[in-house]
């Protein structure tokens, strides 16, 4: 099923993704999500640093995109819970994210994601989420 779905079409149908200007591309490692820097995203003007809420919601979107990419369905999954860890301040620059599906059940998926900026080995934020898969969805394997 991999790669069968147009992720840009998914972004295009989400007003909030458009609000954040989230971009995406697919490479051999999966989905790369990009959050272009904008002054609006700043949460701390003194540092300056991006708002933790902006980075976390970007990671939530990365999870949804990876899920859509691997399952080939555009029906949106819904977060049951999220757990976010902030490792270091996200500076005023472009932010990148990748997500990994750790378990795909019939109803629930466990997805982990991480965000980084200039150095992928220095993540700024980690997110773990349980996502409720759309009804009628069954792991296709």
């Amino acid at each position: 099923m991999s790669g069968a779905i147009d992720l840009n079409a998914i972004i295009a149908t989400s007003p909030f993704c458009r609000f954040l200007n989230v971009e995406t591309k697919v490479d051999e490692r999966g989905v790369l999500a990009i959050l272009p820097i904008r002054d609006q995203l700043v949460g701390n003007v003194m540092l300056p640093a991006l708002h933790g809420g902006a980075v976390a919601s970007f990671l939530e979107i990365a999870c949804l995109l990876q899920l859509a990419h691997e399952t080939g369905t555009s029906a949106p999954a819904r977060a049951i819970d999220i757990s976010v860890e902030y490792l270091r301040p996200a500076r005023r620059e472009n932010t990148f994210a990748r997500a990994r599906i750790r378990r795909m059940g019939k109803r629930v998926a466990v997805v982990h994601a991480e965000a980084w900026q200039s150095d992928e080995n220095k993540p700024v934020c980690l997110l773990q989420s349980h996502l409720r898969l759309p009804s009628g969805f069954a792991a296709k394997e």
Partner: protein, 160 residues
């Protein structure tokens, strides 16, 4: 469980609530933060260790075309920011809180076109860490759309 009167433990009281300039200045926490402004967050109220922020519904913040429901990521930002407000309401602006971790349980989707209110409580703070609970609701605080638990680091100046 700590009651309202001793919501912050002893070592925070040494330079605590007295620094808080009160509601008329508390709104700056929302008004001077670019991302809070961009999302349209509106300051509601605060008291030492507690804060409440409203996020009015807006079409461009919806998660999925055709649902009219705010994206869950909006709740994340609202909850995070309300926690920051609650800390500063207890410890003053110089507490300089930074989110360490944040866990959110989404009990149910918000109603279509519903605005969301979030209330956070810093129920415990040490010199370097604050612990918070928060709830977000659309219609009634008795029926939250999301509940959250968070820990923030504090970067307070040493007491003189």
């Amino acid at each position: 469980m700590a009651g309202d009167s001793d919501a912050m433990d002893d070592d925070t009281k040494t330079d605590g609530a007295a620094d808080w300039p009160g509601n008329s200045f508390a709104s700056r926490m929302v008004e001077y933060t670019p991302y809070a402004v961009a999302l349209g967050m509106t300051y509601v109220t605060s008291s030492p260790g507690r804060g409440t922020i409203l996020l009015p519904w807006r079409a461009d913040l919806v998660g999925q075309d055709g649902t009219d429901i705010l994206a869950p990521g909006i709740l994340t930002a609202l909850i995070d920011h309300t926690c920051g407000l609650a800390i500063m309401a207890g410890l003053g602006f110089e507490a300089a809180p930074a989110t360490l971790d944040l866990r959110i349980d989404h009990m149910r989707p918000a109603a279509p076109r519903a605005s969301i209110t979030c209330s956070a409580h810093a129920y415990r703070a040490t010199r370097t860490i604050a612990f918070l609970r928060a709830e977000a609701w659309d219609v009634s605080p008795d029926n939250p759309v999301a509940t959250a638990q968070a820990a923030f680091t504090l970067n307070r100046r040493e007491a003189k």
